[in-house]
Structures are given as structure tokens and as C-alpha cells.
């Protein structure tokens, strides 16, 4: 218990008491393009929910922020770090999807006056899931969850949308249900940087919270995007594009093949979830936290295939 407390104090101290920007790494991966790499971990009180990759595009006139982190504390640290890089107004806060590690920091950006932007299905997803996220994450994050509010987008993307930041026009694209039901990517043609949100996982085992087949389909279509490097939703950044898609594709293909075989044999979902995808275990982190879940949802989806 004492050790836990000390760890928390150590984690919070630089963010809360000291200079928040110093503790929050934000690197310039291309001129005017900033990214922060989250820890490959579950959200905890100790890491303040800082597990997802975040970023920002700075144009001639304004800034667009991509995702805000897994707590109000992290969102504030991100904002402070960004303010050290640029004083230009933050015109947009873009959420790549509805998951807590990407949106719990939204509240930190409300006072900037930014327009919150998301997939057309994001408001619905936040309505259906937001209250559950707030209560479920209290158990694992404790007081690190304090102050978190669900901030839905006021501008939504049906298919594609271009935002002009001044000499930098970024292209937002909404996708069919894949990793989740509200995935959005952001491409900056000028720098060749793509923010994929959780349509791409690196090292962190992919999480399927929408559709396994949709995820495979969208990941293949992503490959056609003319980018040179990618900031994945999780894992090292930046990564080479489109080569970075390969490991994830292998995982999703293996899982799909194993589940189809189990369904054909007449296995039940519980048994299939224990075995499907197991061959991929050594290649990924957090495999035991998410693979059985992916397999369970994938089984329920693939069961409808065929006559």
C-alpha cells in the first residue's frame, strides 16, 4: 500500500506540482508536427491513463490537436507541453474514436475554445459508453480519474473533411466500423504524416471493439493512403508507412482463420476464445489482456458467415 502511494506521488509530482510540460514528452517528428508516445500498458492510477499516442499539427494560423489522453491531468500536461512549442490558437481538437485513453483529457481543452471534431458516430458512441467508462475506470484509476468529463464533438465527419490551419491543410477521413464504430484518421499531405488512431496498433496487441472483418478491410484500404510515416494509436512513433501495417494484418488474419476453423468444428465461444490467435502470443504485448476479448467478439461476428 505504502509503495503504491509513493509510486503515485512520484508519478503525479512532476505533472501536478512541478512544470507539467517537462514531464510530458512531445517530440517534433516533422516540421510543425508533434507527437507524444503513451506507455504500452493498461490505464492505471500510476500512469494517469497515459497509454495512447497523441499529437498536434501546427499551421501558419492555428493548431489542431489529435486526441487528448486518458485523464484530465494528462490532458492538462499535454496542453502545457504544446503551449511551450506554440502560442498559436488551438482551433480544433480531433478525437480519433471514443475510447477513454484518447478522450478523457478533452476537458483540459474546453477553455481553449477549440472546436471538438469526430466521426459522425462519435456522439452516439460517447452517449452509449461514456457513463460506463466513467464508472468502470474509477476502479483502476481511482482519483486519477477526478475531473474527467465526456466532451462530445460539435463538428462531425461523415466521409472526409479538410481543415485549413494556414499553409497546412489536414484531411480527416471517417471509416466504416473497424477497430471501433467511430474511427477517424488524419493525414497531413504536406509532411506525409498520418495519424491512424487505433486503426493501427504497434507492439500493443490490436483491440477489436467494432468488427474483425471491418478492421481487416479498413486496414487494407488504409495502405493506399499516400503517407510516408504514421503515428499509430499505440506503439513506437513515427513508423514507416505502409510497412507498419504488416504485423497487425498478420494478427487479424490469424485470429480470423482460427475462429472460422473453430466455428466450422462446432466449438462454443468460450472454448474458441481460449485458443484462437494463440500462435501470435509472443509477438505482442498485453496479449492476455485483449486476445480472448477479440476472439469472443470475433466469434460472435463470424458465426453469422455462410448459410
Amino acid at each position: 500500500m505504502l509503495r503504491r502511494m509513493l509510486a503515485l506521488v512520484a508519478a503525479l509530482a512532476p505533472l501536478v506540482a512541478g512544470n507539467p510540460a517537462r514531464a510530458f514528452s512531445l517530440s517534433e517528428i516533422a516540421p510543425g508536427v508533434y507527437a507524444h508516445q503513451g506507455e504500452t500498458s493498461l490505464m492505471t492510477r500510476e500512469n494517469l491513463g497515459d497509454i495512447a499516442n497523441l499529437g498536434a499539427f501546427v499551421g501558419g494560423e492555428a493548431v489542431a490537436v489529435i486526441d487528448t489522453g486518458g485523464s484530465l491531468i494528462e490532458g492538462r500536461a499535454f496542453l502545457a507541453a504544446l503551449r511551450e512549442k506554440t502560442q498559436k490558437p488551438i482551433r480544433y481538437v480531433i478525437n480519433t474514436h471514443a475510447h477513454p485513453d484518447h478522450i478523457f483529457g478533452n476537458g483540459a481543452f474546453v477553455e481553449t475554445g477549440a472546436i471538438f471534431v469526430g466521426h459522425k458516430n462519435l456522439p452516439r458512441a460517447l452517449a452509449a459508453r461514456g457513463p460506463h467508462y466513467l464508472s468502470a475506470f474509477r476502479a483502476q484509476m481511482g482519483d486519477a480519474l477526478d475531473g474527467v468529463t465526456i466532451v462530445p464533438p460539435t463538428m462531425t465527419v461523415d466521409q472526409t473533411m479538410t481543415l485549413d490551419l494556414g499553409h497546412r491543410k489536414i484531411v480527416l477521413q471517417a471509416w466504416r466500423t473497424a477497430h471501433s464504430g467511430c474511427d477517424l484518421t488524419i493525414l497531413d499531405p504536406k509532411s506525409g504524416v498520418l495519424f491512424s488512431g487505433d486503426l493501427l496498433f504497434l507492439q500493443h496487441v490490436p483491440v477489436v471493439d467494432g468488427s474483425l472483418l471491418g478492421f481487416l478491410d479498413v486496414a487494407d484500404r488504409l495502405a493506399a493512403i499516400k503517407a510516408t510515416q504514421v503515428v499509430a494509436g499505440h506503439g513506437p512513433l513515427p513508423a514507416p508507412w505502409p510497412k507498419a501495417l504488416e504485423d497487425q494484418r498478420a494478427y487479424l488474419m490469424r485470429l480470423t482463420a482460427d475462429l472460422r476453423a473453430a466455428i466450422k468444428k462446432g466449438e462454443g465461444v468460450a472454448a474458441a476464445a481460449k485458443e484462437a490467435g494463440a500462435e501470435e502470443r509472443e509477438k505482442w504485448r498485453l496479449f492476455d489482456d485483449y486476445n480472448a476479448r477479440n476472439a469472443t467478439a470475433g466469434f460472435a461476428e463470424l458465426e453469422w458467415e455462410g448459410p
Binding site: 493498461l42 452509449a128 460506463h132 464504430g181 467494432g210 462446432g266 468460450a270 467478439a297 460472435a300 453469422w304
Partner: protein, 261 residues
Amino acid sequence: MNTAARSAAGALFALLSTAALAQTAPDPWPELVVDIFHSRPIAAADGVIALEAPARAEDAAIVPMTMRFADPTQIKVATLVIDQNPMPVAAAFTLGDKSGVGFIETRVRVNSYSNVHAVAETRDGKLRADAKFVKASGGCSAPAVKDEDEAVANLGKMKYREFKSADPAKREAQIMIRHPNASGMQMDPVSRAYLPAHFIDSVEVFQGDAPIFKMEGGISLSEDPTFRFTYAPNGAKTIRVEAHDNKGGVYKGEWPIGDAS
């Protein structure tokens, strides 16, 4: 509808109001026994009913549950209760007299750490229960619909599957119904309106004209409700299903029984 099933269905709605209390109460089960089973004594399962549940809900929206019956002729109603859910009664299955149902597997939503009870009402009017504790899923897993547009587009589609039964005297089958089974308990943050509830509230399964089971349930069942079960064949040529939802939707299916015995 028999009395037990009706009272279970009524309890679904009565319990919505006590959901907030159940979340903070140390153990909601004593209250649930009052509300669902009218304080009748509940004996240990003693092999009459057995519940199989995973130790952890991997996906909060899809948690497989299996109720097994040692002697189906003794079982009148089997009720599956997710103690901590806003609507704890996931499903109450009234078994057909000669159905010979050996097990029923379905999938439920599990919102948080919860005991799950499988309660059998035997033909002598007594209650017996088995229970398992299920840990909540981690991460961003939510007991919500995966793809609401697709769920609506496919509404009411059904699928029938047959399996080789481990018991040679029985047949094994699965009924699947496309339905969002949406809870309607969340508020839209933009419009401040509650999303409408839309869920399957009854499913009747027959071989020929003889009932295998009638399920009465609610929003704790997963989207696309599915039921896998064994039954004693009576020579009928078809399996027939009639399902109803809370908005008056009626969904019917009928399939020839194959050779997969």
C-alpha cells in the same frame, strides 16, 4: 405465460428502479430474492442445475453462460440473474414438458464485477440455485452495441445451426437472432434525450408443435441473442422459432431438422 415467468418478466422492470442501490449495496442478492422470487427459500443446486461462467468477462458485451440440467424432466423454469446489472434478470427459460433440454448456452452483458445466479424452479415448486462470480472486463470494453447501423440493418434475421450432440439420445442446435438488444438507458449528450430501448423480450422454440423452451428476457442479453441447447427429438421435421421485441416486432423462422444427431 406461467406465473413464474410472468413474475420474472415483471421483475425486469421493477428492478430498473433499484439499479442504483444495487450498485452500491455490498450484495444485492438478498433483495433480488425478494423481488424476483418473492422471498421463497432457495436451496443449493445439488447437481439439479449447474452454471458455467467464465472467471472474467473478456468482452463486457458478450459473456457466455451455460446452464446445465441433470434431469430436465424435473425443471420447470431456469432463470439467469446477473446480480449487479441494471436489469439483473437476463433470461427466464420455461422448458417444454417433454423437451429433454440438457443445457442452454446464451450470452449476456456483464457491467461490473458480479455474482451470476442460475436458479431452477423444479416441478415440485422448489427453487435451487448455482452461482459463479464473474470479474468485470478491463480496458475499453463496454456492454454496448458494436455497430448500431448494422444492428438495425439486419434486424430480425435468424440463423439455425445443428451440432453433433455429445449425448446420442439428444440433438444439439443453436438459434441466433439479429437484434441490437439495446438498453436505452443512456442519455445522448447532445440532445439530452434518452436513447430508446429496443430489445427481444420473448423467444419461443418448438420442434414441430411441441415447445422446447420459452425464453423471457431483457437488455442483459447480448446483442444478436443466441441460444445453443440440446433437446430430446420427438420425430418432428422442423424447428420453429417465434421472437418478440418490446416495440411489437415479431420475428419468425422455421428450418428442417437435419441428420446431425
